[in-house]
Amino acid sequence: MIFFKNVNKWFGDLHVLNNINLEVEKGEVVVVCGPSGSGKSTLIRCINRLEPIQEGELIVDDMKVHDKKTNMTQIRAEIGFIFQSFNLYPHMTALGNVTIAPIKVRKFKKEETEKLGRQTLERVGLGGKAGAYPAQLSGGQQQRVAIARGLCMRPKIMLFDEPTSALDPEMINEVLDVMVDLAKEGMTMIVVTHEMGFAREVAKRVVFMDEGKIIEIAPPKEFFTKPKSDRAKLFLSKILTH
């Protein structure tokens, strides 16, 4: 579904993605973790070309994302992207937020899309909030609307960029629950997160990154109990001490 082959990217002198090779299968859930600045957000932002790559091949759903000539609209429609800071449209209701792209990009009919939108909001536990504006919702609710916004496009892939990092602790689980359900339904997901409970429960593999490189790829059980690299050991000791 997603292939990184010898992918390189620089921000000026900074080598943010250093020879990345990664393959994610259909229906697979992959958790990406690593210290801040390790390139994990950049890694998933390249998949829908929010950031262009400079070298290598990146193929998503059989389309060449690395090729500048590729029309990204089609690929982006297949990929839901969830941001750390939600980025809901503040001038639209929850329903408006989830239906705008399906109507304008997918050309779904308005009435059907609104029905789909309400169903999707229902699915993330926000059936009663269709008419609410983002400012009237809590952080956890906003992030669930953002997930519903991604799902309404009927995507093949969902990408999550630290979806719970901006949330108060008591709201983290309501978002993770939605993501766990999604994973169990067979969605292809790449999740940048430090929520190790989530990784243990649904991830097939954990990708550990540091300084733009993939240091280690392992099933979560293996990664958490006996990490191979020293850097992963150090990282885990830091986040798991509490």
């Binding site: 990204m72 089609q74 992207f81 941001f83 980025n87 001038h91 705008i100 990009v105 504006y133």
Partner: protein, 222 residues
Amino acid sequence: MWSFYFSELIHSLPFFFKGLWMTVAVSGLSLIMGTIIGFTWGIMRAGSNKILRSLIGAWVDLIRGTPFLVQVFIVFFILPGIGIELEAFPAAVIALTNLAACFICEIVAGGILAVSSGQREAATASGLSAYQQLRYIILPQAMRTILPPLVGQYVLLVKDSSVVSAIGVVDVTRVGWLTVQRIPEGIMVFGLVGILYFAICYPLINLSNILERRMTVVATRL
């Protein structure tokens, strides 16, 4: 003497209203065209094309850095030298439209850039085209920042239009000049001119204030 001049002035009122109509026509036309051009420039100025961005930026700086009277003179007296012959009215409208467009361009670009980059990223990620992003996501949010100073700019535009009397457009200022030669009561004549300008500008000032308040309320809700 004063009451005689006053009744003379009352008799001249139709002349003043004609001048007022000219002021409204010049500033109204410039307002409409200046808004259209100003939004176009502003959108490009906040856009991704570097050449367009700096070209527009340079032009706006040039216009903002020179007196409007000089700009009007250039359009009316100097353009004919290179073969562009213009009547006073179109010359006035062209100069004023350009001035309005430059100021509106800066207001619009500022409003667009004030929308957080996350909004554009979210819209891009969902596959919306550049036009759709602007139309449905960016501009509706930017309008909250743009509207109050935009209406404020319209007030300045109406007042700046008085400058075009210098090239012979018979607007309400020019009517004042002509009248004061017959009725040498400057305070009375230009008092009337001032009142007529104020009559147009005051509702606009109020509108701007109302918009400012309403947009602030909306912004705090966001």
